[in-house]
Structures are given as structure tokens and as C-alpha cells.
Symmetry: C2
Subunit: 144 residues, 2 copies
């Protein structure tokens, strides 16, 4: 159940706790981690209204920033002996997480119970709950 673990992260504290869980799973047979960050299409669209840059440029900036934030996580996992794959997707977080779960054929998934802040969580609706409901494989829900 643990060979290949999907790790969707929004870089929140609770997502970091989910990473701690994954690290503990090394000894139980975890070999590979798929780090996933979803750039929320709705924020992205909203931003485009206000920004002076054009859309492809904003997306490029966002991907660069997300890559920068993922790098230390990737390094940490590799140092511990995990194989690591990084995926950055743009879209609806719920849909993208489930799509990647299936595409990557992971053994399980570790996610935080809440998003980056209560406000964001309210705005997003309950991404975690929808993911837990629809996931095919075991979900390790890490609490705040």
C-alpha cells in the first residue's frame, strides 16, 4: 500500500506534516514519491484580471515559484533514498489530484486535512474531503 506515494502539497504547515509521515514510511517499503502542486485555475483566472502581465507570462512565473518551493522537498526525499517525481499542474485542485492519482497509479496518497488557510479552504470548498471520497487508493489524512 505504500510503494509509490502521491504527495499533493500547497506548502502549508499541514502539508509539511504529511511529508513527515511519508518520510516515516521509508522503512515500511515506500520507494517513490510523486510531489504534486496544483496551481488553482480559479486564482490564476482572478489574478489575470488584475495583473499587467499576460496569462502565459503569469503562468510561467507561477511555475517558476512553485518549482523553487518544491526543490528542497525533492532534495530532502532523494537524500533519504526515495525516487522522486515532480508534477506541477494547473486546474481545479480536486480534479487534478485525482487525475494524477490515476495516471501515476500510486499505492496511496498523503494529504493535509485542510488547505493553506481557513479562508482559502472556505473559498476552495473542501478539496481534501472530495479527494478522500473519490480516491481509488488509501489516503493518509494528516491533521493540523
Amino acid at each position: 500500500m505504500l510503494k509509490k506515494i502521491l504527495y499533493p502539497t500547497d506548502f502549508s504547515d499541514v502539508a509539511n506534516k504529511a511529508l513527515d509521515f511519508i518520510k516515516e514510511m521509508k522503512v515500511a517499503g515506500a520507494e517513490e514519491v510523486v510531489i504534486l502542486h496544483v496551481i488553482d485555475k480559479r486564482f490564476f483566472d482572478a489574478m489575470a484580471w488584475y495583473a499587467t502581465k499576460d496569462l502565459p507570462e503569469i503562468e510561467k512565473d507561477l511555475i517558476k515559484e512553485v518549482t523553487r518551493q518544491i526543490e528542497p522537498i525533492e532534495k530532502e526525499l532523494k537524500d533519504l533514498g526515495f525516487r522522486v517525481k515532480v508534477r506541477i499542474e494547473t486546474g481545479d485542485p480536486f480534479t487534478e489530484i485525482l487525475r494524477v492519482e490515476r495516471e501515476e497509479n500510486v499505492s496511496s496518497m498523503a494529504i493535509g486535512s485542510h488547505g493553506i488557510s481557513n479562508i482559502k479552504e472556505m473559498f476552495l470548498g473542501s478539496v481534501s474531503e472530495k479527494v478522500i471520497r473519490k480516491a481509488k487508493k488509501p489516503v493518509h489524512v494528516i491533521k493540523r
Copy 2:
């Protein structure tokens, strides 16, 4: 996150899969399992309407039957080197699971995503979802 794991079971197939997960966690530091079965107070009440026996007698029979079903699980875990505690509670499954989670101060919990059958699940409402939402500690949600 794994030292003491709560294992609420309704003896369904998916609850059995959650047990497989717990067994895999031995090597990752899991030491103790609290096996919990909640006798659903609502079924119990409903049964009392039809039964010719009185309530305390029905409850005694149910506890005996549940104990019989827990015994092989308890033995299996002990044979693997786990410390095991068995709790049989009567009440609302959601409330009792969360009460025992806190009382036993567990490190995490492994539960099935669904109850013993779709029909029962519909009747019960979504016990797992409510537990996941309100649990204090990580929840490992095992899917059908």
C-alpha cells in the same frame, strides 16, 4: 505518528483491508493496536422493538458475538508482536470512535472508507467522513 493505532472495525471487507495496512506499519514503529467495535445504538434500539428478549440480554448476546469476531484479529496482531487492547462500546459510531480516539490518546487511526454495505452506509450517514473531519490525529482511510 504510528506508535498506537486505533482500529475501528465493523468486520467489513474494507475494515479487513485497514487491518492489512496496520500490519504493514509494524516495521515503521507501530507497537499497539486498539481494536474498537461500536454496537450501533440505533440498530440496538430498533432490534429491541422486535425481539422477545429484554434489552440487557440482547446487549449481552451482541457483546458475546462481537467478542467472538474480534478474537482472531486480536490473536493475529499479538502473533505479529503488537500489544492489543479491545474496546466494545455501544452508542453512535461516530461519537464513540472519536471518544475512544481521545481517551486512548492514539497516534493515528486506520478506517475503511465505507461501512459494511452501501445500504447500511446510507442508513448510518457517512460515519467515516465525519470521523475524518473531527479526528485529532492522522486518519488512514482505506478504500474498497
